[in-house]
Each structure stands twice: as structure tokens, then as C-alpha cells.
């Protein structure tokens, strides 16, 4: 088949702007799903995604669409819509020639709209502006179109006005996909090169690679080579998602589909790798993806040390379906054996946490998330520090660098003051302010990631009454005047409670941490001193008074079963905590140290 009749495209949007609804409508119009078998938001196949309204994994579906007497093959590659998943969005966009940028007419351009547009441009995809929800009474399609033109440089007259919900304008949009987006280049006579843009692990079939063929073709039983890893495999199944898996004999240049080739584990393949023919390979792999960049790290320890192997199994299982999640064994003097886990961002971390809880019955103690630091040692080495406890002694540190991001905040003009105050308190530097329309503004900052990664978004939402949106992208490491805060619980230093912060706020933060911990650690049978130290010097103390009374007054014949249950519950409660010496520290205490509110 000629590539002339193929269109590969993605839908990109700010969260809740209607991406998944549009995907559903497109599949309905192209006859892929009938009304009856339609489930809302077909592309989201994980429970959590559905519950949170977020798509985690990129999925791809192939559809046929008639236009001007010709049948086109449309490959729709779904993308996640949240700030943490830049990497996955970029993977999907590289496999496309075009993207539909959906903007909610009641909300206007939002931070992720801008971020996604940048990613699409970087990936070389053509963008079609789409204004959604124009049927709603509160829709302001003209203002939205102005914003799109102003911020993204897409002519307002070229934007499509649709209602993904009712289907209004979607036909016209599909016509535009065919007429406005370029077909993939026809390289079918060249050696085989296919890009792995996503993968998934199926319990029975092993790893399923989502691929975009750029040149040559993939055939069933072909011996292929993954150029990055050098591994060779025999293709056992090829197919397309319609949206069910439908096997085909061949995938040609320009096409999108899946490859199954006896790959057992996700870790055996690299996203962004190029598949080529083992006998007649291409000279160079396709320009691959940037590997996922884990920005947020947190340690996970089993509540009960004997659960360590189970925790490992659970993480292995999670990693099977999430290539952007990493975990390495970690041994903490205070908490014992556990894992240092890396995430794309905080939301990604929360999703992994939830899956861990949902799919496994293991009590886990998790430390406060931290960003990754760079240390230049006095002997000239560069170290990557993913946990405050790994920070070398100050005498060995020449330079301590922290990650910075470009932060975009879109908000209403009346909330600028509050947001500027918040940003300043978080060491963010305003780069520019850009008015999108009369009452909406985009503020661009250079921000230390550590300052915005934890509660910044919630505070932003609070200040702006829910209107502001933000997105950020990593730009690099920069030197900072940073110090480590150490906490001692019952005179024992607890590495998992230490924090790296800017010197200017260290003392204040340290005191706050103690107050938080005093509230978060339950009273014990004895008094617990809490101390905070900066650079080896104790700067503040608190103490947790012991409880004075905890005894069942009456226990006679009829009460035994009930009282035993109460005692067991009390014990279970203790078991969910982590023992540090004789002190039991609950999970939320580890998190509480990040809370900076008053």
C-alpha cells in the first residue's frame, strides 16, 4: 500500500480538555466501535487511568476513513495528558506526522497546551488547532482561538470548532487530517527500520512492542535485531490495534502496529530502540528518543523486613508495564533494606504507589520524595545524588548542584500577585510575562525543581481558585547554596528523614520539620526526644510526651474475642509503622517533613 493513503497522528491536550472523548468519537465515526460495545474512553485500559481521568500509556489504533472516494488508513496514537509524562508524549509524537492540539473552549489555552505544542514542534509534527466543547454555554471559542494564535502561532481562522461529545465538526476534522497532514514518506524499498515507541507486557504473550515503521517492512517470521541492545528475535506476531489486537502478515513503511517477538521482559528492550532486519540492517538507527529522565526519587521500605523479596517482586511486576519507573536496592541504617525508586514526577510516583497498594498486599514505608542532585567532589568527580542520605561529607563537596526547570504558569490576571509571591518564596525567577488575552496571562519562570515538585501545584491551585495551570521542563543543573538537614529521633539520626534545602530557609524548615514530626509520630510508652541538626549542630529540639494511660479496665468471659480483636488491631497499627530503635514511625511522618505550610 502506498503511504499516500496513510496518516499518523496524535491528539494532544491539557488534562480534561477532551482528548479521550475525541478519540472515542473518531473511532465511532470510522466504524471501529459501535455504540453498544463502546465503553467511555476506550483507549485508557488501566483502572487507575480511568479513575484519575489520566491516560498513562500511549496506545495506538488503526482505522479506515473514506474521503473523496479513497480509503485512508488512520493511525491514532494516544498520548498522556499530564505534566509528568512529557517523555511519553514525545515518544508518541515522534511516531506521527501530525497532531491535533485540542483546547477546551471553556478553559482556553492552558499550561499543558503550551508544553504539548512545544513537544509536537520539536518532534516535527504538523499541528492542527482544535477548539473543543464549543456547544457548551460557557464556551468562548473566539477568545480561545485568539489565545491559540497569540501563544502558539496557529492562525485562528485555521482552528476547527468541534464538540467531541456530540460529534459536531469531527467529520470535518477527520477530512482535515487527511487533507492537511502529510503522509509518511514512502521508504518501503529501503532497509527495514522501525521505531519502538512504547511497549507493554502481556502475561501470556510476553512483551508487545508498539512500533512505527519508517522504512522497509516488517514481516512475520522475520529475524529482527534491536539495534540498541543487539538482541535478535524472530517475529511471531505482527498486528494492529483495531482497537483489539488484529494480526497482519506485514507492516510496511509508514504504518503503525505491534510486534511480538518472544521478548520476555520489558527490561530486555529499550524504548526508542530501532528494529531492523538482522540479515540486511540499516547503517544507523533512527534518531531515537531521549531516555526517560527520572526527576523524583523516593525510597520504599517494606514495613516488615521479611517482605523485602515480595516488594522486589512487586516492583519487578510494576516495571514490566512502566519503562519510566526505576528501582534499585537500597540499604538504610535506620530503615533496613529497601529500594530507591525513580519517577518522572510526583504524579507518576503517586500512580506507582497506588498500583503497588492495589496489586500487592505489602505494608510499605515511603520516604519523602527528593529530586536528583549533582555533586562535584573536591577530587573532581561528578556524583549523582538521588537521596539526601547519599550526600558526601561537606568537606568532600566542591559544588552542590540542583536541577532547574522552565516553569510555565497560565493564570487569570487577578491572581498574578499571589502567584508571584509564592514563586518568590520558592526561589523562582520570572523570565517573562505574556498576556494571552485581556484577563489571562502566561508567566514563565526559571525554578529549582525541588521547590515546585511537592506542594507547589496545590498551592498554586489554591491561590488561583483552581484556575492556574502549570507545566515545566528540565533545563539543567545549577550550583546552589544547599545544606542538609538531619533529624534525630530518640537520639538516633534517621537518614530517611533528612532533607536538602537552601541555606536561607534551612533553620526555619528544620523547626517546621520537628513540629510536623511531633504531630505525626504517635505517643509512645516513653518520652521521645526529637532534634534537628544542620551541619552537625543541633539547632532545635522537641519532645513527644509518652501516653499515660492505655489499658482495658474490664476483661472477663464475654469480652475475650472482642478485646483480642481490638488488641490485634492495635498491633496491626504498630506493624504498619517503621521501627527505628524502639520508636515506631508511621508512614505519613516521612512525608510530613515536606509540608511547609504554617
Amino acid at each position: 500500500m502506498s503511504t499516500e493513503l496513510i496518516r499518523n497522528f496524535s491528539i494532544i491536550a491539557h488534562i480534561d480538555h477532551g482528548k479521550s472523548t475525541l478519540a472515542d468519537r473518531i473511532m465511532e465515526i470510522t466504524g471501529l466501535v459501535s455504540d453498544r460495545e463502546k465503553k467511555d474512553q476506550l483507549l485508557d485500559d488501566m483502572d487507575i487511568e480511568r479513575e484519575r481521568g489520566i491516560t498513562i500509556k500511549a496506545s495506538a489504533v488503526t482505522m479506515n476513513y473514506e474521503h473523496a472516494g479513497k480509503t485512508y488508513m488512520l493511525n491514532l496514537i494516544d498520548t498522556p495528558g499530564h505534566v509528568d509524562f512529557h517523555y511519553e508524549v514525545s515518544r508518541a509524537l515522534t511516531a506521527c506526522e501530525g497532531a491535533l492540539l485540542v483546547v477546551d473552549a471553556t478553559q482556553g489555552v492552558q499550561a499543558q497546551t503550551v508544553a504539548n505544542a512545544y513537544l509536537a514542534t520539536e518532534a516535527g509534527a504538523e499541528i492542527i488547532g482544535v477548539i473543543n466543547k464549543v456547544d457548551l454555554p460557557s464556551a468562548q471559542p473566539d477568545i480561545t482561538a485568539e489565545e491559540i494564535e497569540h501563544v502558539l502561532g496557529i492562525k485562528k481562522l485555521d482552528c476547527f470548532h468541534i464538540s467531541a461529545k456530540t460529534g459536531m465538526g469531527v467529520h470535518e476534522l477527520l477530512d482535515a487530517v487527511v487533507t492537511l497532514l502529510p503522509p509518511p514518506p514512502d521508504n518501503s524499498d529501503k532497509p527495514t527500520a522501525a521505531l519502538v515507541f512504547d511497549s507493554e507486557c502481556d502475561e501470556y504473550r510476553g512483551v508487545i512492542c508498539y512500533v512505527r515503521v519508517f522504512s522497509g517492512e516488517l514481516n512475520i517470521k522475520q529475524k529482527i535485531r534491536f539495534m540498541g541492545t543487539g538482541r535478535t528475535h524472530l517475529i511471531t506476531e505482527l498486528g494492529k490495534f483495531t482497537p483489539k489486537m488484529s494480526p497482519v502478515e506485514r507492516l510496511s513503511a509508514g504504518e503503525v502496529g505491534y510486534v511480538i517477538a518472544n521478548v520476555r521482559q520489558l527490561s530486555d528492550i529499550t524504548i526508542g530502540d530501532t528494529i531492523t532486519d538482522d540479515a540486511s540492517p540499516v547503517d544507523k538507527p533512527l534518531p531515537g528518543y531521549v531516555p526517560p529522565m527520572q526527576m523524583v526519587f523516593s525510597d520504599f521500605y517494606p514495613g516488615n523486613n521479611t517482605d523485602y523479596p515480595n516488594l522486589r517482586l512487586a516492583f519487578e511486576k510494576l516495571a514490566l508495564n512502566d519503562a519510566s519507573f526505576s528501582f534499585i536496592p537500597q540499604n538504610s541504617p535506620a530503615l533496613g533494606f529497601g529500594f530507591r525508586c525513580g519517577f518522572l514526577g510526583l504524579l507518576h510516583m503517586e500512580i506507582v504507589q497506588e498500583r503497588l497498594e492495589r496489586e500487592n498486599d505489602i505494608d510499605v514505608v515511603q520516604t519523602a520524595p527528593t529530586v536528583s542532585y549533582e555533586v562535584i567532589t573536591t577530587d573532581g568527580r561528578t556524583l549523582k545524588i538521588d537521596s539526601p542520605s547519599d550526600l558526601p561529607d561537606t568537606t568532600q563537596i566542591e559544588e552542590l548542584r540542583e536541577p532547574y526547570v522552565r516553569l510555565e504558569i497560565i493564570t487569570t490576571t487577578d491572581t498574578i500577585g499571589g502567584i508571584m509571591q509564592l514563586s518568590e518564596s520558592r526561589r523562582c525567577k520570572l523570565i517573562k510575562t505574556d498576556y494571552l488575552s485581556q484577563n489571562r496571562v502566561m508567566m514563565q519562570y526559571k525554578a529549582p525543581l525541588a521547590e515546585i515538585v511537592y506542594d507547589f501545584y496545590d498551592l498554586l491551585k489554591g491561590i488561583s481558585h483552581g484556575y492556574a495551570t502549570m507545566d515545566y521542563e528540565f533545563i539543567g543543573f545549577e550550583v546552589g547554596d544547599l545544606v542538609k538537614i538531619n533529624i534525630l529521633v530518640n537520639k538516633i539520626p534517621v537518614d530517611a528523614l533528612s532533607l536538602i534545602v537552601h541555606r536561607s530557609v534551612a533553620e526555619n524548615r528544620g523547626r517546621k520539620m520537628l513540629v510536623r514530626l511531633r504531630k505525626a509520630i504517635p505517643r509512645h510508652q516513653f518520652e521521645i526526644p526529637l532534634q534537628v541538626a544542620i551541619g552537625g549542630k543541633i539547632i532545635a529540639r522537641e519532645s513527644i510526651k509518652p501516653f499515660r494511660k492505655d489499658v482495658t479496665a474490664k476483661l472477663y468471659g464475654g469480652d475475650v474475642t472482642r478485646k483480642m480483636k481490638v488488641l490485634k488491631r492495635q498491633r496491626e497499627g504498630k506493624k504498619r509503622m517503621k521501627n527505628i530503635g524502639a520508636v515506631q514511625i508511621p508512614q505519613d511522618a516521612f512525608m510530613s517533613i515536606l509540608d511547609t505550610s504554617d
Binding site: Q525, F547, R548, K549, V551, T552, A553, K554, L555, T561
Partner: protein
């Protein structure tokens, strides 16, 4: 059948009388106003249940199970009629019940009845004594009248003294008082007064309970809605410490967390619970630990009576603890006694070596000075008593 489960030294019989004249606002036990029901029918049902259970092999003494029946020997070493308030029953019905029990098990080692000080007089007490009751437990609760009012008790402070003197007058020597501390509005001073008053009455046994806010009681609701403020934890603690100090000074031995007795006057029936020996509970809402099974009867007088009359089971809940559970229950109950776990007995009774089974909490709590061990026993220290649950919970599972 697991012979171990029958290898016990003693067994108790408990009869629950779920009647009260009025319900006290703090009480979490099952009871209903007596006016609403026929006490004659209830007592008949209780006697029927008792007789039926007697007919079951499990009721027979171990010696009988093994084929060497000893005629005339009471199988139940202890008998206890509690409530509710048994003393609110018409005397005729109460005596009918006692008569039935003693005709089946004459001369138990101890036969206790709980009485409300406002509901007894010399005449009734004398009849109880003649019928075979050996021990009187009086629900005094407090010697401060405003505290009695707060609790919703209908008796007066003077009633307590009268009841004790009457009981003594008709020949009872073994008299116990129940007291409650940490009642909202009470103070260290008022509590000391109650303790002293109880001591001065010359009773042999005192149970002193911190007021417990039981779920679903009017008192609990009053706390939730802010109408009642519980005594603060520190005062509660001091009241408890004072209890131990004052009673020990007066010659009482603390033999359990909340129980104090003059030497030889410990309540044998209750010791049987803390030894985790078997007992049979009869009547609505009564609990049993029999043949390795923990059961609870229906907590509904009408359903109970109907059930018994129609020959249906009146068991509402049943659980058979496994060997480990039995060991844990035994440990928790034993540790409430000041004598703690007697290692040999524990081994014989449960098959487990307590020192090994609970090595972890023992190690931890010895360090904190909350547990003391000798070659023969394992017990809570005095320091551990006010916070016993925080220690015992680590013995509730392994």
C-alpha cells in the same frame, strides 16, 4: 478430639441476667428494662438452656469423660450470676434460678451474685445466703452522690453502706465492691474519698475500673457531641496509681489490673477467666469458652426466650481459636494477673513455650522495664499496668 482442650483444672458457670431497672448511661453490657419482659419466662428459658447444655457430653467433668464419674462432686468450681442487675429480679425468680443451679451442682467453691445496693435488704440477702450464695458483689461505683447521678445510678451513697452491713449481718464474709474512677467531674480527692469509704466498710474485695466509654452508649454519644468531657489522661493515670497505692496500704493485694483482694478473697470465678480455663455462659448475650469454642448467645431477650422455647440454638457468634490463638489469648489474659504467665502452666495448657513464642515482645519490653521475667514466670511490671494494652497487643498475635 483434642484431649488437650479438656485438660483443665477448673471450669466456671456464668449466668447473665439482662435486666435492669433502668439502664445506666455508661453501661455497654446487654440489658433491657425489666418492665418490658416476663422474668418468669426468662428464668424458665435460662433453666432450660442450662439443663440442655448439662445433657451434652461437653458439660461433664473430665473425670466423667474419662469414665470415672465421681458422684456428687460439683463440676463447676465457681458460679457467678451477673448482669444487668440480677437483684432486680423478683426474689422468687432469683431463688428459683439459684435453687435449680445448686440442685445440679451443689456446694461450688464460690457462688457469686452481683447486686445493686439499692435493690437488696437483709431479708433478700439472707435468703440468698440460705440458698447457697457465698459471695456478694455490690455495684457501688462511687461514694460521691453527684458521680452516682452522673452515671445514672439509682442508688444512693447511703445504700452502699446499708447493703454491706446487711450482707455482713446475714453472715456473708466474702463481700466485694465495684468502683469506677475517672468519672467526669470527679477529682483525685473525690476518688480518694470513694476508695477510703470502701476500705472503711471492711469489704474483702474491691474492683476499681476506669470509666470506659463503650461504643453506642449514651455516654459515648455525649462525649462525641461535646456535652461531656472525659477526665484528662494524666488525672486518670494518677487516679489509677492512687488506687493501687491506697488499696495496697490497706492490705489489699492487686491480683489483676483492676482487681484487689484481701489475702484468700480473690474472685475465683474471675481468676478462671484470666487463666483461660473453660466456662459456660447461660442467658442472653452470655459468652462461653467451652470445648475450645468461644460463643456468644443472642443479645435479645425475646429472641433468646423464643429460641430456647422452640428448641433452637441461641448461639449468635462462634469462633474456634487455633492453637496459636489459644496461646495468645492465654498470654493476654494471664498477663492481666499480677502473677502473670506461669511458664509451666502455660506450656501444659497451650503446648507452647511462652518465652520462645513471645521472645520478641519480651525482649523489647524487658529493655523498657515493662516486663519482668523469672525462671518460673513472666509478668507486667507496675510501670506497665497503666499502659498494659500497649504491651499486651504485642502478645495478641505472633
Amino acid at each position: 478430639m483434642n484431649s488437650k482442650k479438656h485438660d483443665f483444672k477448673s471450669a466456671g458457670l456464668y449466668v447473665h441476667i439482662p435486666f435492669c431497672q433502668t439502664k445506666c448511661r455508661y453501661c455497654g453490657f446487654y440489658s433491657e428494662p425489666i418492665k418490658k419482659h416476663s422474668s418468669q419466662r426468662l428464668i424458665s428459658a435460662i433453666i432450660t438452656e442450662l439443663t440442655e447444655k448439662r445433657g451434652q457430653p461437653a458439660l461433664l467433668a473430665p473425670s466423667v469423660v474419662e469414665g470415672s464419674n465421681v458422684e456428687g462432686e460439683s463440676f463447676f468450681q465457681t458460679i457467678y450470676i451477673g448482669g444487668g442487675s440480677p437483684s432486680c429480679l423478683p426474689t422468687k425468680q432469683l431463688l428459683r434460678l439459684i435453687g435449680e443451679i445448686t440442685s445440679q451442682w451443689p456446694k461450688p467453691e464460690e457462688f457469686t451474685i452481683e447486686v445493686n445496693p439499692g435493690q437488696v435488704n437483709k431479708d433478700i440477702l439472707s435468703q440468698l445466703r440460705t440458698a447457697g450464695v457465698t459471695r456478694i458483689s455490690i455495684g457501688a461505683q462511687s461514694f460521691a452522690s453527684e458521680e452516682l447521678t452522673f452515671l445514672g445510678r439509682r442508688h444512693s451513697v447511703a445504700d452502699i453502706g446499708r447493703a454491706v452491713r446487711s450482707a455482713k449481718g446475714v453472715g456473708f464474709d466474702n463481700i466485694g465492691l465495684d468502683l469506677i474512677f475517672a468519672i467526669p467531674g470527679s477529682t483525685l480527692k473525690s476518688w480518694k474519698h470513694s476508695l477510703r469509704s470502701a476500705i472503711d466498710l471492711g469489704v474483702r474485695h474491691i474492683s476499681a475500673y476506669a470509666l470506659t466509654y463503650e461504643e453506642q452508649t449514651p455516654l459515648q454519644k455525649a462525649v462525641e457531641t461535646g456535652k461531656v468531657t472525659p477526665v484528662d489522661e494524666e488525672t486518670d493515670r494518677q487516679m489509677y496509681e492512687m488506687t493501687i497505692d491506697e488499696l495496697e496500704k490497706a492490705g489489699f493485694n492487686q491480683y489483676e489490673i483492676s482487681n484487689f483482694a484481701k489475702p484468700g478473697f480473690e474472685c475465683k470465678h474471675n481468676l478462671n477467666y484470666w487463666a483461660n480455663n473453660p466456662y459456660l455462659g447461660i442467658g442472653p448475650a452470655a459468652g462461653s469458652y467451652w470445648q475450645g469454642k468461644r460463643t456468644l448467645n443472642i443479645a435479645d431477650i425475646k429472641k433468646y426466650i423464643d429460641g430456647v422455647e422452640q428448641g433452637k440454638t441461641v448461639t449468635a457468634e462462634s469462633e474456634t481459636p487455633d492453637n496459636i490463638q489459644v496461646a495468645c489469648e492465654t498470654a493476654v489474659l494471664n498477663l492481666r494477673r499480677r502473677c502473670g504467665i506461669i511458664l509451666d502452666e502455660f506450656k501444659t495448657q497451650t503446648g507452647f513455650d511462652a518465652a520462645k513464642l513471645f521472645a520478641e515482645p519480651i525482649g523489647k519490653y524487658k529493655k523498657l522495664g515493662l516486663i519482668r521475667t523469672t525462671s518460673k514466670r513472666l509478668c507486667l511490671t507496675r510501670k506497665a499496668l497503666p499502659i498494659a494494652d500497649s504491651v499486651l497487643c504485642d502478645f495478641s498475635t505472633t
